[in-house]
Every structure is written in structure tokens, then in C-alpha cells.
Amino acid sequence: MDYREHYPAVLRWLSHMVDFCLALGGFAIVTLVFCNASLRGFAGFDLAWSLEVTSFLLLWSTFFGCAAAIARGAHMRVTEIVEKLVPMLGQRILSIAIDVVIAILLISLIYTGYNISVHTWAQKTTVLYWPVGLLYASMPAGMALTLIFHLFNMVFDIRNPVVPHASHSDGGEAF
């Protein structure tokens, strides 16, 4: 389910900021790839740095997108089996247990991701000489945002009964 409508103002603002970054990143990716193709096709030269910038943008927008997806409750999951076989109370306990497991995973991803980023900071990309750690920081940063949204979702799940999957949209308004 889409948790965003239940968020307090601060979280809502954060979610808008993440969305804003996604829109900006997406626009930059489209523009850059298109311009590089056109320049090569018509003007006869290739922007050597475009590969590095697009992979930077792809990484950051993917992990930010992961946070945006958790705010929308949009990550893919198999809900059919539990909804059919487990009684409501069991579903509620299971859902909270799962939330805790996810929180632990996220914390370890942030911790190790931070270390990975620190370890690779001295390493430089080949064209622009950007720190490789800056590319890799996308993972812990995205996971930290994901954790913030996830913790609120968890509090919401504890306070409210489970909503059957069939009765809510999965948040992707587009589809």
C-alpha cells in the first residue's frame, strides 16, 4: 500500500525531495544519452565522460528509486499465499516480523555500504577522476532513505491492521 498519505509533514517533504531528485536524474540521463548519440551521429565526436556520468546517475537514481518505492509500498512481493492461508492475526504478526528483518538488513546494508564507499574513495574513475566511492555511496545513501521510510511504515503497520492486498493499489499511479 501507498504509505505516503499517512506520513507526517517532514517525511512527506523528504519523499518529495527524493521524487525531485529522481525527476532531475531521469531528465539528465535522457538528455545526456540523447545528446551523446546526436553528437556522434551528426558532429562526429563522442563525449568520453558521458559513460561515467550516466553510470553515476543510474546508480544514484536506482537506489533513490528504491527509497521512493518503499514509501509507495511498491516493492514486488508474493502476497497471494499468506493472504489465503494465514489468519488475520497471524498475518499481522508476520508482517511486523518481516518489517523487523528488513530493518536489520537495511542497517547492515548501510553500515557495509558506508565502509565500501570509504574504502573506494581514494580510487578514481578513469575519465573524470571522480572518487569511485562517490558512485558507491549511492547504495548506503539510498538505503538510509529507505530505512527512514521503512521505520515509519513499520510503526504504521504495528498500529493498524493489515490491509488485504486486493483492496489497495500498489502505489504506482502510472499503472
Binding site: 563522442d46 559513460l51 574504502h119 580510487q123 574513475t125 578513469t126 575519465v127 577522476y129 569511485v132
Partner: protein, 311 residues
């Protein structure tokens, strides 16, 4: 028995795998079976840059990769990719084993989390193109794929190519679809990645000597006893000799096989190519400083003089 993990990106039938198997055998032999080296070929565990990062993070013990791959951790290593530093295998071996400047750079690697044990062979980089390439004049109408590396890109631009940067996995399809006219790599790679199928004109310019330093994770290295360090170094040296002789001696047969499958092999007049890339040395000085460039150029010149080409 402690298991050590060795990752490389060559195919199971390739020369790196053969040398890796010998290395594993020798490590087991010289450490009296205290260590077993498990080999993961074809990049199934990691591509070249990731393998080096895994050395640093403790996910791998050994890898073998082109000098350029290590240059993201130590930019000056890019200077080894300057064009026409050496002309023969013997000169190249001397450069990697005994150049004072290069040894000094290698000695700084342990603080980055890994160290060089020996240098394996990959050979000299040459061109494969879909149209004949006899001189820099032919290059002017061609798009050349380059891997993300300044020095190679500058050289290609200096020769006259229009360059396109792309990952190795996209190259075959891109040549086939005409996005680029060709690529440059050692003969061994040209054969194993089958570039001659889509770019059948093989032009042996041998413009860059491009061997493969074998590296070990510093953490793993420090965990060895002195005796085991000795043993691993010995195994590394022997596998390097094996790799060097294997690659050097198989170039002719690889070229013959590719010719049989429809490729055309030619040796162009090197002079015009050599003249065309002169600007690269000054460009390198702008980026890496006069001192480093002068040192490696001096080392290379001394080696060329001491071990002249036999023809």
C-alpha cells in the same frame, strides 16, 4: 587446508587459466598443501575492476588483470600505456621486472590494499578493423572503440581515429552494427573474444605493451608466514615465466587460426604511426607531471638500447 580464491576474466581455454592452474599447483606444492587455490575463470565472480575492489574488501585473494585496471587506484600506472615504449617481449619483461620507476610505483600498492607478485603476459595491443588500416590516413575515416583510459584514447585520437568509449562486452555487437569500425587489443584477446569475425582486418601495430600484473590481497599476504610468502612468490614467478613463454609462442598459431577463419593479417609501416602519437608524451606530462614521464621514458629508452630488437 586453507582455500584461497583466484578470479580472472579469461575463458577456461585461455592462457590466463593455464597459468592460473600452474600457479595453483605450485602454491599447493611449495606450501606442502597448506593452501589450496580455487580458480574462478570467465569473470564469473567479478569483472576486472570489481575483482580488484574485492581484493581490498576481503572477498578475494588473487586476481590477474591488465595494468590499466590497477591504474584507477594508482593513476601513474597509466604511463605504462604510453605508445611504443618497448618493441619486443624481452624489453617488456625487463621493463616490468626491473624498471626502477615501475618497481617504485608497485611498492606503493600495499597501502591501497593489494600487492603485485609477478607479471603475466598478454602481449602487444594491435588493431582489428572492418576496413583495411595501412596508415594513419586510413584512420581518419574510422571510429575506434577505446576502453575508458586516457592514454589509449589520446593515442587513438593522435593517430586520427574518432574514438568511442564503451565497455568490452558491447564491442562485438557494436562492430557488427557499424557503431564503431574496430577495436584494439592483444592478439590473445582478439582471438578469444572473436573480434576478427566482425572486424577481419588485423593490423599488427603493436602500439602498446600490455601485460597482466598478478596481485594478492594485502590482508591475505600479511596472514602468511615468511616461509609461505616465499613459496607464493616462487609460484608466482614460475607461473609468470610460463605465461610469458606461452603467450609469446602462441601468437603465430593464433594468427594462423584466425587467417584460416577468414581474417587478413598485415604488418603496416610503423613509422607514420609512431610519428602520429608524439603528442601523447607531452600530453602525459601535462597530466602526470614531467618527472614521472621522464623517468619511465628514460627507463624504457635504456632498456631498448640494452636489449635491441633482433631484426
Amino acid at each position: 587446508v586453507e582455500t584461497l580464491r583466484f578470479s580472472h576474466t579469461d575463458n577456461p581455454g585461455g592462457s590466463r587459466q593455464a597459468a592460473a592452474e600452474l600457479f595453483a599447483e605450485k602454491v599447493a606444492e611449495y606450501t606442502d598443501g597448506r593452501y589450496e587455490v580455487q580458480i574462478f575463470p570467465s569473470g564469473q565472480l567479478a569483472n576486472d575492476p570489481k575483482a580488484i575492489e574485492l581484493l581490498q574488501l576481503g572477498g578475494l585473494d588473487f586476481t590477474v588483470s591488465a595494468t590499466g585496471s590497477y591504474a584507477t587506484h594508482m593513476p601513474t600506472l597509466n604511463l605504462t600505456a604510453m605508445p611504443f615504449l618497448v618493441d619486443t617481449y624481452e624489453q617488456g619483461w625487463e621493463l616490468y621486472d626491473n624498471s626502477e620507476w615501475l618497481q617504485g610505483e608497485f611498492a606503493k600498492l600495499p597501502e591501497k590494499g593489494f600487492r603485485v607478485l609477478s607479471t603475466w603476459e598478454a602481449g602487444f595491443r594491435s588493431f582489428t578493423t572492418n576496413e583495411p588500416l595501412a596508415s594513419p590516413t586510413d584512420a581518419e575515416s574510422m571510429k575506434m572503440r577505446v576502453f575508458p583510459n586516457d592514454m589509449i584514447r589520446w593515442s587513438m585520437e593522435a593517430i586520427g581515429f574518432q574514438t568511442v568509449v564503451m565497455p568490452i562486452t558491447d564491442v562485438y555487437l557494436s562492430i557488427q552494427q557499424g557503431i564503431v569500425n574496430g577495436q584494439e587489443n592483444p592478439v590473445d584477446t582478439i582471438k578469444s573474444l572473436r573480434f576478427y569475425e566482425v572486424a577481419p582486418n588485423i593490423t599488427l601495430t603493436r602500439h602498446v605493451y600490455s601485460p597482466l600484473p598478478l596481485t594478492i590481497a594485502e590482508k591475505t599476504w600479511q596472514s602468511f608466514s615468511d616461509e609461505d610468502k616465499e613459496a607464493v612468490l616462487k609460484a608466482a614467478a614460475e607461473s609468470a615465466t610460463f605465461s610469458r613463454n606461452l603467450v609469446k609462442s602462441s601468437v603465430e598459431s593464433q594468427l594462423a587460426e584466425m587467417t584460416e577463419e577468414g581474417a587478413t593479417v598485415s604488418v603496416p609501416e610503423i613509422g607514420p604511426f609512431r610519428d602520429a602519437v608524439q603528442s601523447v608524451y607531452s600530453k602525459a606530462k601535462d597530466v602526470y607531471g614531467d618527472e614521472a614521464v621522464d623517468k619511465i621514458l628514460a627507463d624504457a629508452a635504456a632498456i631498448r638500447e640494452a636489449l635491441p630488437a633482433q631484426n
